[in-house]
């Protein structure tokens, strides 16, 4: 199957604390650079290309992921593949109290 080079794979990102820097930059769209990206791959991409929007990096310099994900309103593990049109919430899992 050939790639449709005219199609732009856009996804929407909503950042929650502690990753969100401010209200203005916490919601944005991102073009998926390649197919079959996982959420963890996406987090690295956002780290590298949207760092001005981040208060805290999604992965640290050793590649350790801190973030948790919701995709289209449902919980999603980091290995889940991202699809065009997905609305992805990135937040931090806390244990509770």
């Amino acid at each position: 199957m050939s790639k449709d080079f005219n199609r732009v794979n856009l996804i929407t990102i909503n950042l929650a604390p502690p990753f969100k820097k401010d209200k203005e930059t916490s919601n944005f769209t991102v073009e998926l650079p390649e197919d079959n990206m996982t959420l963890k791959d996406l987090a690295l991409h956002i780290n590298n290309t949207c760092s001005s929007s981040l208060q805290v990096n999604l992965l640290d310099e050793k590649g350790l992921l801190s973030a948790s994900f919701m995709v289209n309103g449902k919980h999603a593990p980091p290995k889940q593949v991202v699809n065009e049109g997905d609305v992805i919430v990135i937040y931090k899992r806390i244990g509770g109290g």
Binding site: N14, A16, P17, P18, K20, K23, S26, V56, N57, L59, D60, K62, G63, L64, L65, S66, A67, S68, M70, G73, K74, H75, P77, K79, V87, V89, Y91, K92, R93, I94, G95, G96, G97
Partner: protein, 590 residues
């Protein structure tokens, strides 16, 4: 440093055994080891307060070595629920136990008189503690200078079904409370007043030195990326979140909001904060101390206050100021009872009295009567003797519709988030292995609270769709993380857990790590089913299916059963919650 201390209080003997490496490979530490030993060593149907129950204490393979893992788990068959029960605490006990050379201890038998278990490096002795009988946990701790302690108060000695175990109750440094499930009563039934541990030669010295660079990196990560987002510390920010989400319990969960929450929230507490205390190797300092400045019980201070206590003894009992909460916290910690269960039982008594079911002079907001009831419960005098059995037993005795507002699952009182405002939490409570508990899967953070953080609704908190997967995933992940025992406040991800384990020579993939969590959840389910629990025990109290008077919210039985059925299916359990042969083989449990 991977020894398990076997203690027999009947014969007054102690013996150390090396942790079997194949058991550690499958169960790692912490909750994993607890689940393994409880399943394999507790006789079926044993009396929780009898000689055959065992009290177990474990820490994890990272305890004392890398920051954010310095917690202990205490476990036994619960006298409150009859289930597997694991309760966690922070502070300094876990690290000290590990540095003394132990990853855990298993206490069996019953002493004929009050005793204290003392551990000095690898030497363990059982000493007479008759002079400590009746002492509060603070006095016990101070009576053991130079040691880190686990202690019970008079509530544990009197076998109050929700008696707790407190560490470091009197000395400086953050205290820890293993609050839930009545494990203090198990300790009391064995006449074990305290466990005291000290070391002179640090058994973790070599591996700690080897990992000092990683330790520095993690401390930097916690200080820069985690602590700034924690507010004044711990979970006190939850008062604002719960209030905004309208899940903050008021008057025995009759409502979910009070405008008076601003007198109880983080900002109010910060104004009267007196200091902060830390656990071993942690920069968070989440032990928030405060002194009530006005109103009733003005001048009362406490070293550490948490959200659950604020809510369950505060708004849930009709209190609108900090003084009664601070006083209640002090009483419960020193007498050694769980603030969540005690708050719930007293709120139940208040509602029962207001409805004319209970002939006792108490009502919501009557803080003096609330404190008097604490005293009666601890001493098991008058009404206190009934309430000491827990809300489920109290409601059965009182009858007359009181069971409809006895808020428990499997006998353990619900914690301070109303699931009618965040439906996944209902499933979390219903399927928690130890009864009404929010910690196994604090799913509200991925639902109602996440919407608050985002400023708009991205997750429908009233829809059952997709919630079973959320709860299962959180339970499995937490079960794995509690093998280490990662602190819930810090939110270490699985990636961090794997990196830390690798540093101490335990190499796992993400899939293998999460499989361990799933294995633990299934093993505990096998234990609970063996003890006679059924699907019927996985339901919520009646009030949660009723429309709440302020918002009209409820969880319909249809929605709840939809989530429960999907949960069982995802777990590969049958529709009665029995693990299938398929999943047991997959997890090496068959």
């Amino acid at each position: 440093m991977n020894k398990i201390l076997r203690v027999d209080l009947s014969s007054k003997t102690c013996k150390a055994e090396e942790l079997n490496s194949s058991i550690q490979n499958e169960y790692l530490g912490g909750k994993g080891l607890l689940a393994y030993y409880m399943y394999h060593e507790l006789p079926e149907g044993c009396d929780p307060l009898g000689v055959s129950n065992k009290l177990m204490v474990f820490c994890g393979p990272l305890t004392g070595i890398l920051p954010g893992n310095d917690r202990y788990v205490i476990g036994a068959k619960s006298p409150l629920t009859g289930t597997f029960s694991d309760s966690y605490g922070g502070g300094w006990f876990a690290a000290t136990m590990r540095k003394a050379g132990y990853i855990g201890m298993i206490v069996e038998g019953v002493s004929d008189s009050p005793v204290c278990l003392k551990i000095d490096d690898e030497k363990a002795t059982i000493e007479d503690a008759s002079n400590m009988a009746g002492m509060g946990t603070k006095e016990v701790d101070l009576a053991l200078p130079g040691y880190k302690t686990l202690a019970i108060g008079p509530a544990g000695e009197n076998l109050v079904k929700y008696a707790c175990i407190v560490s470091n109750a009197g000395k400086s440094g953050r205290a820890g409370v293993a609050g839930r499930g009545g494990l203090g009563a198990v300790m009391g039934s064995k006449k074990l007043k305290a466990i005291a541990v000290n070391y002179t030669e640090d058994a973790t010295a070599e591996i700690s030195e080897k990992n000092k660079d990683l330790k520095k990196e993690l401390m930097k990560h916690l200080k820069e990326d985690v602590v700034p987002d924690m507010g004044i510390g711990g979970n006190l920010a939850a008062v604002d979140y719960s209030s905004q989400a309208k899940v903050f319990p008021v008057n025995n969960f009759q409502k979910g909001y009070t405008e008076k929450y601003t007198a109880l929230n983080e900002a109010a507490i910060e104004k009267v904060m007196t200091g902060k205390t830390s656990c071993h190797l942690c920069p968070a300092a989440c032990g928030v101390g405060l002194k009530a400045s006005n109103g009733q019980f003005a001048g009362t201070s406490t070293d550490r206050l948490e959200y659950e206590t604020v809510a369950m003894s505060g708004s849930n009992c009709g209190n609108e100021e900090l003084g009664p909460i601070v006083n209640f916290n002090n009483l419960c910690n020193d007498y050694g009872i769980d603030t969540i269960s005690a708050g719930s039982v007293i709120a139940f008594a208040m509602e029962s009295a207001e409805k004319g079911i209970l002939d006792y002079n108490i009502s919501f907001g009557d803080a003096n009567a609330q404190m008097e009831l604490v005293e009666l419960i601890v001493k098991r005098e008058g009404l206190g003797d009934l309430l000491a059995e827990g809300v489920s037993a109290a409601a059965k005795e009182l009858g007359k519709e009181s069971e409809s507002f006895a808020l428990h699952v499997k006998g353990m009182e619900l914690p301070a988030y109303d699931p009618r405002g965040s439906i996944s939490l209902g499933l979390s409570y219903g399927t928690a292995d130890r009864g009404g508990c929010h910690m196994r899967a604090w799913s509200i953070a991925s639902e109602a609270f996440l919407n608050i953080d985002l400023g708009e609704e991205k997750v429908n908190p009233f829809s059952p769709e997709g919630k079973a997967e959320l709860v299962k995933d959180l339970q499995d992940t937490n079960a794995a993380l509690w093998c280490l025992i990662v602190c819930d406040n810090l939110g270490y991800s699985v990636d961090y857990a794997l990196k830390m384990l690798d540093a101490v020579g335990i190499k796992l993939t993400e899939e293998e790590f999460l499989k361990i969590g799933e294995r633990i959840c299934n093993l505990v389910q096998l234990y609970n089913r063996r003890e006679g629990l059924t699907r019927e025990d996985d339901y919520l109290p009646a009030r949660m299916y009723e429309k709440r008077e302020d918002t009209g919210w409820s969880i319909t039985l249809e929605d709840y059963e939809y989530m429960l059925n999907e949960y069982y299916s995802l777990r590969k359990w049958d529709q009665n919650g029995n693990p299938s042969d398929e999943i047991l083989k997959e997890l090496n449990l068959k």
